[in-house]
C-alpha cells in the first residue's frame, strides 16, 4: 500500500546538550522543510505512541540537523519514518537586512536557527534572543538575553519568534507594547503547541485563535502572522 508522503531516515549523530538533545538525520531522499515547518517522526517500536514533531536547525544536503528536543531513547543507527514537511513556515521578506529571532519557549531559539542558516552568508545581520545561548551558535549571529527584546525592535526589519500557547502577553510585555498588533516590523510567530496528527485528525488540541477564528497549528501553522494572533481566548 502506498504511504502518505513518507521518507525513511537514520539517526547518524546525537548532540547531547543539557538543554535538550538534538540529532543529525540521514534521509533516503532529500527533504526541504522551510524554516518553521515540521516533520512528524515515528520509529517501529511503541516507545512513542504518538508521532514526534521535529524542527530543523539546518539542512545540509540529504541530512537534517534536528533541533532539540528529541526523545532520549533515540540513538545513532535508529531508523525513523518521517512525514512532511508539514504546515506553514516562516516567510521573511526578500528585502530583509536585520533579522531578529526571539525564543520564549525555552528552546534556545534552535527551532528558529534555520532562518539564520539560510542567510548566514549574506549581508543580513542576525540577533538571537533567548534565555540561554545554544551550542555552536555561528559567530555571525549576535546573542542577547530575551529581556533585551524591546531594545532591538527599532533595529529589526523582520522578527521571528517562538512562543508557547497562552504566552503572547509575556511577549507583548517584553516588547514594551500595549498589544502584539503593535510590532513595528513584519513579524511571525511559531506557536509552540502539541503537533501530534499532522493535520489529519483536526482534534483541536493545537487550536490557535487567529483573526478571531480558531485555526489548527498542525495544519494552518505552526507559523502565523504575529499581528493576527489573539492574546485572549
Amino acid at each position: 500500500m502506498k504511504t502518505m508522503n513518507e521518507t525513511r531516515a537514520r539517526i547518524s549523530e546525537i548532540f547531547y546538550n543539557p538543554n535538550g538533545t538534538g540529532m543529525r538525520l540521514a534521509c533516503e531522499s532529500p527533504l526541504h522543510p522551510l524554516p518553521g515547518q515540521y516533520l512528524l517522526a515515528r520509529t517501529a517500536g511503541m516507545q512513542q505512541i504518538i508521532p514526534i514533531p521535529l524542527f530543523c536547525r539546518a539542512v545540509e544536503g540529504m541530512d537534517l540537523i534536528v533541533a532539540p528536543p528529541v526523545p532520549t531513547d533515540w540513538l545513532p543507527g535508529t531508523e525513523i519514518s518521517l512525514r512532511g514537511p508539514l504546515g506553514n513556515g516562516f516567510h521573511p521578506p526578500a528585502t530583509m537586512r536585520h533579522l531578529v529571532l526571539a525564543d520564549l519557549s525555552g528552546n534556545q531559539g534552535q527551532r528558529l536557527l534555520q532562518l539564520a542558516s539560510d542567510v548566514v552568508e549574506t549581508t543580513v545581520e542576525t540577533a538571537l534572543l533567548s534565555d540561554s545561548a545554544p551550542d555552536e551558535l555561528p559567530i555571525e549571529i549576535e546573542f542577547l538575553p530575551i529581556k533585551a527584546l524591546n531594545e532591538v525592535l527599532a533595529w529589526a526589519d523582520y522578527l521571528a519568534v517562538e512562543v508557547p500557547l497562552g504566552q503572547l502577553g509575556v511577549l507583548r510585555d517584553l516588547a514594551g507594547l500595549q498589544s502584539i498588533r503593535e510590532f513595528p516590523m513584519q513579524s511571525e510567530a511559531l506557536v509552540d503547541a502539541p503537533l501530534i496528527c499532522g493535520g489529519i485528525g483536526a482534534c483541536g488540541v493545537c487550536s490557535v485563535k487567529v483573526s478571531g477564528r480558531w485555526q489548527l497549528a498542525c495544519k494552518d501553522g505552526p507559523v502565523f502572522r504575529l499581528n493576527q494572533l489573539s492574546e485572549e481566548e
Binding site: T3, S81, P194, G201
Partner: protein, 252 residues
Amino acid sequence: MNRQSALLDRLELSSPWMNATGFLGYFPPPRSNWVRSMGAFVTNPVSLLPRKPAFHRLVQPFPGGFLLHTGFPNPGIHNVIQQYAEKWAKIPVPVWVNVLAQTPDELPQLIEPLEDLENIGSIELGIPPGITLKLILELIRAASGEIPLMVCLGVDQIQIEWIKPIHEAGASGVVLSAPKGMLKVDNHIAGGRLYGPTVFPQMLKTVCRLAQFDLPVIAGGGIFSEADGETLLEAGAAAVQLDAVLWRNWEV
C-alpha cells in the same frame, strides 16, 4: 451466516474496520487508500452550536499511551454540513456523524438537518461522562429518527445493566470509546481521555461481557495492531474503530 457477518449486515457495514471519532477530522485525508477498506467513515464530534477548544487543552504521554483533552472544538452542525455535505455524498463508504449534546432539546435540531443528506449511514450519539441512565435514555429517544443510532459510551462508563434499556430505547448498537483518566501535569491534575495500547485489556474485557447481548457492540479504543482488532472481533465485537494508530501508520 456466522455471527460476525450477521452483525455487520445489521449495521450495514461492508467491513468491520472503521476510524474512531476525533481521529480523521470531518473528511478522510487526501489520497487516502484506507478509506476504501473501511466499513464507514466516522466524523469528528459536532455540536449544535460552534464549540471552543478547552482552555487547558493538552496531550500528555505516559507509558503505554497518552492523555488527550481537547474540549471537542467544532464549528457547529450548520457550518459542518455546509462545508462537508457534498463531499460526504461522494465517499465510497457510509458516513457516521458523531453528535454531541448536553440536553435532549438540542438533538432534534442537530439530527434533522442530517436526515436530508446523502450517504449518512448512522448517527453516533456521544454520551457525556457522569450522567444517569435516565438522561441517557432521554437523549437516545430524542435522537431517534430516520437514521440508525449508535450510542457512544466510554468503556469505563458503560454498565452491563444499561444494555437492555439502551436497546429498548431505540439504539442500533453501542460504541465503546476511550476511557477518561487523570495525570499529574506540571504540578496540577489534568483530566482527559486515555488512548494507547494500555486501553486494550479493558476494552477486551468489556467486549467479552457485552457479547452475550443481542445489541451490536463496536470496540473503539486500544487497537494498535491488526491482531488487536481481530481479537476483539473474535470476542464478539461487531466492528472495531481505530484511533491514534491512524496517526502512526500513514497508510491512511
